[in-house]
């Protein structure tokens, strides 16, 4: 039962010997949509239950906590540090977190699905809380005192009666941590949090602003050479001829050719790209569908079966929505440094799934997982786009072939083309309402884009909601919020149309059909702050709202837009209310909500991957527009703190409302309903 990670960890910690490990089942299902298209499940992994696997207190008092989760900008390095510090009753500056290192941290499925806060923070708290209790007990024994008479403060146990204190460092050595099983009975309730619940600053912000933090693409090894990979001209193309003589003749260049894989290594990145350019290759290509045919391919036009209401709806509405492929565009593209030492492989790479990438590498090179060590330095963002290990595998292939450490950093064009995309989709909705504005029937079909956020939160007596899998013409995978963005866009646009059909205000119509108290609370909070009851849309300035729920978070947004004479749309102001249970770090939470709104605005208005015949036609930032300073609206975030409710994750769901809120504002201004994401190409056509 001792796996490689445990052995590596023991080497690392040294002072901790072997011992009994009590393991519990992971009990967490891998969401089928979460992956980079591989859709693999990783069953059979169990989380260690001993405190030693998660926490180490050195004799000098240094506290190190270990988690397989990774930091990609969502600030979990800070929030998990807060959890540990809270339980140990110490300052977060006293805790160092080791993250996403397959030799040092417990196995983890990956950092996605907004799971870190609801599932990892409780584990870290359980382990740190148990450690606190053990330290307290050790001190009580040392002083023959009643543990209840002692206090834990600043990483010390204090006995005020005899005016003595013992530091964690002094006490920790007397405890056999591998035999201490985590007990959630010692976890601190949110109402008693001291460190969590506060806006603790980002723990490594200083390193970042000084340019000292080393991202995956910044890693260096002695004797490092630079890699580059020859890409086919289109997806699925096969190599028919190859001449690498000119490339091989360049000093310092090695060409690696293995099946359809052709790559080079060189003393620097410039020579590597020159060598790549010197390779002559011909390819067999195959015809493939293009952007223009995409939606007809996904769901051929034609009526869908309509749901039959109980009774006669006063009004019915049938509508079809389309969602384009979009790219994550993490500012740091895929990057990896791979190094072989005999038959052992070490890879530094930016990934949301270091353990998943370890499996991919082990499988690629047919070696046991305990011979592969993946290290994930806090990376230059991901947004669901870095689940997979293709760059790590390529770097490792090159490194193996040339017998030197290899760095491979994908170009922006490669990241656009050879990573995976947020799925496109078609959504069809058929609905009916009564004369009183009550929803009577609701039928919702999502083709290809995904099932997340598909169930309606509104009350409706007759409904049918389905996701239909369709084979994607382009490589697709996870994206922040998954299909919840597409499904909320369609549903909330449709609800807005129904409100108009019912002759009701969009807010009144939603409240008429909502029971969920948490969703109602954010809707009321956002509209109150926005002043919804006072606004009146005109043809140039208009207002829209939307609300929704997914992954345990509740969100409502109001948007104010301006439409100029070129039919360009600018979002001027957004008020978003957000509730995800007990708040861990208010400032970082606001930052996430703001970021989600800005990122969501891109997919709402203008982001779209254009493709034809297996080629991405806009694989550059000069061609694929992402939101910039001038696009960012004034944003007001209202956080509802629910100390009585477990914290849900917040990195994703705040993105779902901005697109329908904008679309609804355009409708309010013009009477035009745009049923496509992105909105602008259709609106301006």
């Amino acid at each position: 039962m001792l796996s490689a990670k445990r052995i590596g960890r023991r080497e690392f910690l040294g002072s901790l010997g072997g011992g009994l490990l009590v393991l519990c089942s992971l009990g967490e299902d891998l969401n089928a949509q979460e992956s980079g298209g591989a859709r693999r499940r990783e069953a059979g992994h169990e989380l260690p239950e001993d405190v030693a696997a998660w926490l180490h207190i050195a004799p000098n008092g240094e506290i190190t906590a270990f988690t397989g989760k990774v930091e990609v900008g969502q600030n979990v390095r800070t929030s998990l540090t807060q959890a540990v510090a809270d339980e140990l009753r110490c300052s977060p500056s006293m805790v160092r977190l080791v993250m996403g290192d397959t030799a040092l941290t417990p196995w983890d499925m990956g950092t996605f699905g907004s799971r870190t806060t609801p599932t990892m923070a409780p584990v870290m708290r359980k382990m740190a809380g148990t450690a606190r209790q053990q330290l307290l007990t050790a001190a009580a024994q040392k002083w023959s005192a009643d543990p209840k008479s002692l206090e834990v403060k600043n990483a010390c146990v204090i006995n005020s009666a005899i005016k003595k204190s013992a530091s964690f460092g002094e006490l920790a050595g007397s405890i056999d941590w591998v035999h201490v099983v985590g007990d959630s009975g010692y976890v601190t309730a949110p109402s008693n949090w001291q460190v969590a619940g506060q806006s603790v600053p980002k723990v490594n912000a200083r390193e970042i602003v000084m340019g000292k933090h080393k991202y995956a693409s910044d890693q260096k090894r002695a004797g490092l050479v630079y890699g580059a990979v020859l890409r086919p001209p289109s997806f699925g193309a096969t190599l028919t001829s190859l001449n690498t003589a000119a490339a091989s003749a360049i000093s310092g260049v090695k060409v690696v050719h293995d099946g359809d894989f052709v790559g080079v290594t060189a003393p620097n990145e410039q020579i590597a790209s020159q060598a790549l350019a010197a390779i002559h290759a011909t390819w067999q290509e195959k015809p493939q569908i293009s952007s223009a045919e995409l939606f007809t391919y996904i769901k051929p036009n034609g009526p869908s079966p309509a749901v039959t209401a109980n009774g006669n709806p006063a009004k019915t509405l049938n509508a079809r929505y389309t969602i384009a492929y979009i790219a994550h565009v993490p500012l740091e593209p895929r990057a990896a440094v791979a190094e072989w030492t005999e038959d052992k492989l070490t890879v530094w790479t930016g990934t949301q799934r270091p353990f998943g990438v370890r499996s991919e590498l082990a499988s690629e090179f047919k070696i046991p997982e305990n011979q592969v060590h993946v290290i994930m330095p806090d990376t230059g963002s991901a947004y669901g786009g870095k689940h997979t290990g293709e760059c790590a595998i390529e770097a490792a292939r090159l490194a193996k072939a040339v017998g030197k450490p290899v760095k491979l950093v994908w170009t922006r064009e490669e990241e656009f083309t050879w990573a995976y995309l947020r799925p496109a989709g078609v959504i069809e909705i058929d609905s009916g309402i009564g004369g009183d504005g009550a929803l009577m029937a609701w039928e919702f079909h999502n083709y290809m884009s995904g099932p997340s956020g598909l169930p309606t939160p509104y009350e409706v007596p007759v409904k049918k909601e389905q996701f239909h899998q369709v084979e994607s013409p382009l490589r697709e995978g996870s994206y922040r919020g998954l299909a919840a963005t597409a499904n909320h866009f369609a549903r909330e646009s449709h609800m807005d149309d129904l409100a108009a059909l019912a002759g009701m205000n969009p807010l009144a119509f939603r409240l008429r059909n909502l029971q969920n108290p948490r969703l109602k609370a954010v809707l009321i909070a956002a509209t109150d702050k926005f002043g919804w009851s006072k606004v009146k849309s005109s043809k140039n300035t208009a207002f829209g709202l939307a609300c929704g729920t997914e992954k345990g978070g509740y969100v409502a947004a109001c948007a104010q837009i301006t439409i100029d004479k070129n039919r360009d749309v600018h979002v001027d102001r957004v008020v978003e209310a957000w509730e995800c249970g007990a708040i861990v770090n208010p400032e970082h939470l606001k930052n996430q909500v703001e970021g989600a709104i800005v990122m969501g605005l891109g997919g709402a208005l203008f982001e779209a991957i254009d493709f034809a015949n297996g080629r991405i036609l806009n694989p550059h930032l000069a061609q694929y527009r992402v939101p910039r300073f001038s696009d960012a609206p004034k944003i007001e975030v209202i956080l509802l703190d629910r100390k009585d409710t477990p914290s849900a994750g917040a990195g994703e769901t705040p993105i779902v409302c901005i697109a329908p809120a904008i679309g609804n504002a355009i409708f309010a201004a013009t009477g035009l309903r745009i049923r496509s994401m992105p909105i602008l190409p259709t609106f301006r056509a």
């Binding site: 000084m210 340019g211 693409s217 410039q270 703001e594 990122m599 960012a632």
Partner: protein, 162 residues
């Protein structure tokens, strides 16, 4: 050729056509400038050349020989952060931090030229810098905060000199 980086003169033997970014990162270990797009569109690679912000990914190293190059690593005075760096921390003006070095240097250049920029001027100056995490409003606040910190610092320096 000789490069003057953060006040230190360094000799390198490289192709003058090679982009400054890769010379900094791969030959000299200044990894604070980042690769984001390779075509001057994202600003992650921004460095200051004689005080002006430049996209080092599209700047041939040959044309900056002998000029003063400032990278993000050279901005702080030892352990003392530049006011813009301090303001970025105080405003939590980052998420993943990959764009931060470029944002900070572009802001420093703006504030040197225009110590009291309006919001529109800040947006205009930083329009070429992408923060994919979407922290634009926080960066705007940070630049305004930095302006205050710099004013306070200037007043203190003035008092100290008197």
């Amino acid at each position: 050729m000789d490069l003057v980086i953060n006040g230190t003169r360094t000799s390198v033997s490289v192709d003058p056509a090679r982009p400054l970014l890769f010379v900094l990162r791969n030959e000299l270990d200044y990894t604070g400038a980042k690769y984001g797009c390779g075509e001057g569109q994202c600003g992650a690679c921004t460095v200051l050349i004689d005080g002006e912000p430049h996209r080092s990914c599209v700047t041939p190293v040959g044309i900056v020989a002998g000029k003063e190059i400032t990278t993000i690593e050279g901005l702080a005075d030892g352990d003392k952060l530049h006011p813009v760096q301090q303001a970025f921390i105080e405003c939590d003006a980052m998420q993943c931090g990959y764009c931060t070095g470029g944002m900070v240097l572009s802001s420093v250049a703006l504030l040197r030229k225009n110590p009291s920029p309006t919001e529109a001027q800040i947006k205009q100056a930083l329009e070429g810098n992408v923060c994919r995490c979407g922290t634009y409003n926080r960066i705007l606040s940070a630049v305004q905060k930095a302006r205050q910190l710099m004013l306070t610092q200037a007043k203190e320096n003035y008092r100290a000199e008197r």
